[in-house]
Symmetry: C2
Subunit: 328 residues, 2 copies
């Protein structure tokens, strides 16, 4: 069986590096920021009431898969999604987006496709494409290779900032369906799946931009929402980022997309849940009646349902009908 590590990505090593980075950042004034749930965004006060939320992300090796079909017009949606979905996890309203696009030699078709996707993503996320940087770096990127990073800004008030501190046992977990693999775990997928056109097209399905739907829910029912986890690298372990004193029981998981089912033939179940979204691209924690929130998410076009509850088993996640237990 393959693992994310055997596919060349050592999450543990990455996490240790991030810990050292955080220590360095603390020395560089990090204490002036507001504490926000899960580190999904950095939140900086601009006055006592208002703050701005910032995040940066890329789309990982999904880039390489797009290159195989020379189909570049959806990667920008993934890029905006990775950033906008992170911003709403701290309760912020995404407002501004910038992109960094680096390549060996500028290819007009590639570049125009990437822009089209970024503009499409900004439309979906209701963000302004404020600027960007295009870098031509012969010698660093091979012919046809490129990298893409996004940077996003949102507004948040201190009152509406989600810190995760209000998460308590017996609160409800709402799962929001993913569209497929989204933008995480592609290195492992590439290692175990064939490279026929149908498979690549399935892998290229763009990440769902949940931000507008989540914003609508937050606007109407924000006081009931105690945590939101964007399920990215690390899979369902992302839930542990929200609050270390609780655990989670997933009792009625959303269906696993077909492309992830195919990968699971080559990868152990636990590794699947630690690497992929497994059908749940976002998870929202609700204190109280979740029916009106489910209705609001549905009205925004999202497939969402109650998938489980918060437990008192600190940093432990159990999945009904599966032998898998994840620990933080």
């Amino acid at each position: 069986m393959e693992t994310y590590r055997s596919a060349g990505v050592d999450v543990g090593k990455g996490e240790r590096f991030v810990d050292r980075l955080k220590a360095a950042a603390r020395r560089a004034g990090h204490d002036k920021l507001w504490r926000a749930a899960g580190g999904y965004a950095a939140v900086c006060p601009i006055n006592e009431r208002d703050g701005i939320a910032l995040t940066t992300d890329g789309v990982g090796t999904k880039l390489l898969i797009a290159g195989q079909l020379k189909r570049y017009d959806t990667l920008g949606i993934d890029l905006v999604a990775m950033c906008a979905n992170d911003l709403v996890c701290v309760g912020a309203t995404p407002t501004l987006f910038l992109d960094y696009f680096a390549t060996g030699t500028l290819d007009d078709d590639m570049a125009d496709g990437l822009i089209a996707g970024i503009v499409d993503g900004c439309d979906q996320a209701e963000m302004i494409l404020a600027g960007g940087e295009t870098a031509e770096m012969p010698g660093l990127y091979e012919r046809g290779h490129f990298d893409l990073a996004g940077f996003a800004v949102g507004n948040v008030t201190k009152e509406r900032l989600i810190t995760g501190e209000a998460i308590r046992p017996r609160q409800t977990l709402i799962g929001m369906a993913s569209s497929g693999i989204h933008s995480n775990g592609l290195s492992l997928a590439r290692k175990v799946l064939p490279t026929d056109t149908d498979t690549i097209e399935a892998l290229l399905t763009p990440t769902i931009i949940y931000s507008s739907a989540v914003r609508n829910a937050l606007a109407a029912y924000g006081s009931l929402i105690t945590g939101i986890a964007h399920i990215t690298g690390g899979g369902w372990r992302n839930l542990f980022r929200l609050n270390s004193s609780v655990g989670f029981a997933i009792e009625d998981p959303l269906p696993v997309p077909a492309i992830l089912e195919r990968i699971s033939a080559h990868v152990q179940q636990e590794e699947m849940y630690k690497t992929f979204n497994m059908g749940m691209g976002m998870c929202m924690i609700v204190d109280g009646d979740c029916e009106p929130i489910l209705k609001a998410l549905g009205a925004s076009g999202m497939v969402a349902r109650k998938v489980g509850i918060v437990t008192d088993q600190s940093m432990t996640l159990t999945i009904a009908g599966s032998a898998v237990t994840l620990r933080g």
Copy 2:
């Protein structure tokens, strides 16, 4: 003779792409932004009086040069410099920085060196290192290769925003000395220079972070400063970005650093001024007495002097003692 194009970088093609990108961005809500000088940063209003300024940049193929000596602890200074120096060009105070670091396989020494430089740069620029993204992408980056992008945020008031519209003929140009090649034109430098350790060390000299010195000058004499150009890709043509109705006469240029003199043996003079900073990393345009500003910049540790004047020759730049005339 070599050109930037023969070194694999087609600036014209890049500029045409940026024009298409701007058109796309206009469709994506760009008209809500405040107009700022030279496009050095996107400025978004947060209320009638205050705005935030945003920029993103990388360090180009300086990355590859660092890799040759495995010396990574100054690239972060370049990265912060490229962003912070851009922000002050619109009159903003740099506040927050995020980095995007992508590599094939995470190398602890490399990663720690990069962080150390970023923290050092944030200290110099008086910015908070608010966050970042570390991406491991096997298959995209060769062993030892990586990319680095920076995102920076600053504060600006509408009153202090520099638009370049107040630039008029006969105003004074203050040049601020560069430390060497900074972070632009490295692909061309790599093509024409030998790869001995002394040369590589000279090329690696970090970009000067001008932002704190410029902020001090803006705080005391902001009403006299009508334009600021960070001399980056495009060389001295960056001045044309500030105001298309004027030109510039450089009468007393700063000394050209030795490393750029060495490159000029292989590259035509006009190409040198269109690609490199040629000794002037920042240029400030002053309406009135520039002596107090020169004193303030000197007190902040900068080497600065009067280098020329604004002319009425639209989009034309002449350099005393040189046959070079640049046109926009």
